[in-house]
Subunit: 361 residues, 2 copies
C-alpha cells in the first residue's frame, strides 16, 4: 500500500539486476554490496550505492535472504579469546574466510557451556552460513546437534566429540603428551605433575571420566600412560585440575611446590598456566630447570624470551584454524563428502627448561 502511494506510476519494483546494470557491475557483486555480505572494494560499494539511489532501489531483506539463502558470514565460538592459542587459530580461520570472500564473526564462551550455548543461539539467530566451534564439553552437545540437524555446516576446532561425526581438526594431543612426559622421565623425573584449567566439583582428579574436554582428556591419558610405563605408582595423584585463572594457578603451584614430596617436573596444559607456574617458581627462590623442569603446550611469545627459555609442545595453531575453515567452506560451496577428522602433528621445541632432578629419589 505504502509502496503504491510512493511510486504510483511504477508497474514493478527496481531489482538487483537493474542496479547492477546501472552500476556496470555483475549481478552477484551488486547483490553482495546491497546485501552487505562478502567482500568488495570501497569503489564498487560507492558505484552500486549511487546506482541504487538513482533508481530508488528499496532493499527487501526477506526477499534477499530467501533468494540467496546466504549471509556470507562464518560464525566462530572459541573457548577463551585471551588465550593466544585461540587468537592465532582465529587468524587462520579469518585468512581462509577472506580468501573465499567470506566474513567472520566471533564469540567467546569463556569455556562455560551455558555461554557457548548462548553464543550458538546468537549466531544461528543471525543466520550465519556455517559455524566453527571449540566445544567446551563433550557431555552436553545438544546445541551442536541442533546446528547439524538444521543442515547448517558445522566444524569443530581443536576438540573432537566422540560419536558426533562432523568435520573436525585437532592436533595429536595424546602423542604430544606422551613425548613430553617421556622427555621428563628420561631426564630422571619420577615426581611429575600435570596441571590443567579443566575443573571438577572438588577440584580433585579421580578418573578420566571426569574430563569433558577432549583435548585435555587425550593429554592426561598420554601423561598417565608414560607414567605407568615408567613404573610410577598411582600417577593419577599427579594430575591437578582447576587452574582456571592466574590466581587459581598460582595457588596450585605454590601448594605443589611447598610439599615435602613436591614434583620435580611439571607439564602445563597451556601457556597461561605455565607462565604463572614460572612466576611462582621464581618468587619462591627456586630455579628452572635445577629445582623444577617445565614443559608447556603452546609455543607462546613469552616462552622464548625467559631465562632459561621454556621447552614447548609446538602446535600448528594457525594451520589448525585455516584447515578447519577450509573444510567448512567446502561444505558451504555444496560439497557433500563424508565428514573428515584431521589430526595435525605437533613437535617439541627443546629449549632450556628441562634438566635432571636435583636429588634423585
Amino acid at each position: 500500500m505504502l509502496q503504491r502511494m510512493k511510486n504510483p506510476g511504477k508497474t514493478r519494483s527496481v531489482t538487483v539486476s537493474d542496479v547492477a546494470r546501472e552500476a556496470k557491475v555483475s549481478k552477484a557483486t551488486a547483490a553482495r554490496v546491497l546485501g552487505g555480505y562478502g567482500v568488495f572494494s570501497d569503489k564498487v560499494h560507492e558505484k552500486v550505492m549511487a546506482a541504487a539511489k538513482a533508481l530508488d532501489y528499496r532493499p527487501n531483506e526477506l526477499a534477499r535472504s530467501m533468494t540467496t539463502g546466504k549471509s556470507g558470514i562464518i560464525g566462530v565460538v572459541v573457548g577463551d579469546i585471551e588465550n593466544p592459542f585461540f587468537s592465532l587459530a582465529v587468524r587462520g580461520i579469518s585468512d581462509a574466510a577472506r580468501a573465499a570472500g567470506l566474513n567472520v564473526i566471533l564469540t567467546n564462551s569463556g569455556e562455560r557451556i551455558e555461554a557457548e550455548k548462548a553464543a550458538v543461539r546468537v549466531l544461528m539467530g543471525k543466520r550465519v552460513d556455517g559455524l566453527i566451534v571449540t566445544p567446551a564439553e563433550s557431555r552436553d552437545i545438544s546445541h551442536l546437534r541442533d546446528i547439524h540437524r538444521s543442515g547448517r555446516p558445522l566444524a569443530l576446532l581443536d576438540r573432537a566429540l566422540p560419536g558426533f561425526d562432523v568435520d573436525t581438526v585437532t592436533v595429536d594431543d595424546h602423542e604430544a603428551a606422551m613425548r613430553a612426559t617421556r622427555m621428563l622421565a628420561q631426564a630422571g623425573h619420577r615426581q611429575m605433575a600435570y596441571v590443567t584449567a579443566v575443573d571438577s566439583a572438588r577440584h580433585e582428579y579421580r578418573d578420566i571420566e571426569q574430563i569433558y574436554t577432549s583435548s585435555v582428556r587425550e593429554r592426561i591419558e598420554g601423561f598417565l600412560a608414560v607414567c605407568r610405563q615408567t613404573d610410577i605408582e598411582a600417577p593419577e595423584r599427579f594430575v591437578h585440575l582447576g587452574a582456571t585463572g592466574p590466581d587459581e594457578t598460582r595457588a596450585i603451584a605454590a601448594r605443589l611446590l611447598s610439599r615435602a614430596d613436591r614434583p620435580t617436573a611439571i607439564l602445563a596444559s597451556d601457556s597461561l598456566i605455565a607462565l604463572e607456574i614460572f612466576r611462582v617458581v621464581r618468587q619462591m627462590g627456586m630455579r628452572v630447570p635445577d629445582d623444577l623442569s617445565l614443559i608447556t603446550f603452546h609455543n607462546a611469545d613469552w616462552t622464548s624470551v625467559t631465562s632459561p627459555p621454556i621447552t614447548v609442545i609446538d602446535q600448528p595453531v594457525y594451520a589448525l584454524g585455516k584447515k578447519v575453515a577450509e573444510l567448512l567452506i567446502r561444505r558451504l560451496k555444496g560439497e557433500t563428502q563424508a565428514p573428515e577428522r584431521i589430526v595435525l602433528p605437533t613437535s617439541i621445541i627443546e629449549r632450556g627448561s628441562v634438566g635432571p632432578p636435583l636429588s634423585s629419589q
Copy 2:
C-alpha cells in the same frame, strides 16, 4: 496462505504471550528465548521451547524485530585480536555486556580500513543494537558517521576522532609518552627512538599529519615534546614507522641497532613490537639495559618474566573495555545525555630495563 491451510480453524496465530503463559515465565523472558537474544538459563529455554511446540507457535522474525527493535547484541570491531591489549579490552566489554543481559559479537579489522568498513557493514546488516569500534584511521570515517546517522549507538575504544562527537574512552597517551620519555632522558639518553606499527607509504616519518591513529599520534607528540624540552635536535628522525608484524619489526630493530649513531633507548608503541626488539637485542649479543634501555606500552604477560623484566606503561585495559561498554549500554537503555569523552590514567611500572647509556655522547 500456507498458514491458513495448515491451521484452517484458527482465528488468530499463537503469540509470545500465549507461550509465556503456557511456560509460566514472563512475556519478556519468553520473548528473549524465542528471539534467541539476551541471557537465560537452559532450564528456562527448555520450558519455553516445550510450550512453543505444544502451542504450535510460529516465530515471525520480522514481526519480532519490529516489535522489540532489539537484537540484544553489541557488535565490536577491534584492530588486532592477536594483540593482548585488545583481547583484554574485549573481556571488559563482555563482562559489562553480560551484566546487562547482552551478548557480544566480535570482528577483527587487522588495522585495515577496508576490513573495518566491511566489519561495520556486516554488523549493521546483522542488526546489532550498538557498536564499539577502535577506528583504524581518523581520515576516513564515513562508515562511522553512517552508523551514527542511522541512530544506532556507537562508542569508540582507545582512539578518539577529532570532530566526531560520540562516546569515547581513551587513555592519557600523550601524558604517558611524556612520562616514559622523560624517564629515559633523565637516565641520560639523548639518542632515543620511538617505534610504532603505524605505517606510511615510504615507511618514513616526516610530520604528525601522517599519523591517522589518534592514540599513536598522541604518543608521538608526547615523545617529541620531551625530546625538544631536552634540547634534542630534530627528534623527528627518531620516530620509526611500519613495525606492522614480527618480521618488519625485527628488520627495523636490526637496522637501528647496527647504526653508528644507534639509539641507546627505545620506547615501543605496543608490546608485540617490544618483544621483537628484545629478541633482536639478545641475538645481537647486546644487553638490556646496558646496551639499550627499553620501555613499552602495555603490561603484557611476558614483560614481567624476562631477565631483566621490562619497564612498562600500564594501561587500564580491562577498565577501558568495561567503561566503553557501559557508556554504550546507557544509550541502549534510552539515555540521551551529551556524548562523553573519558580519559583513563596510566601509570609506569618500573622494572629493570632502564639504565644510563653505556657511553654518554
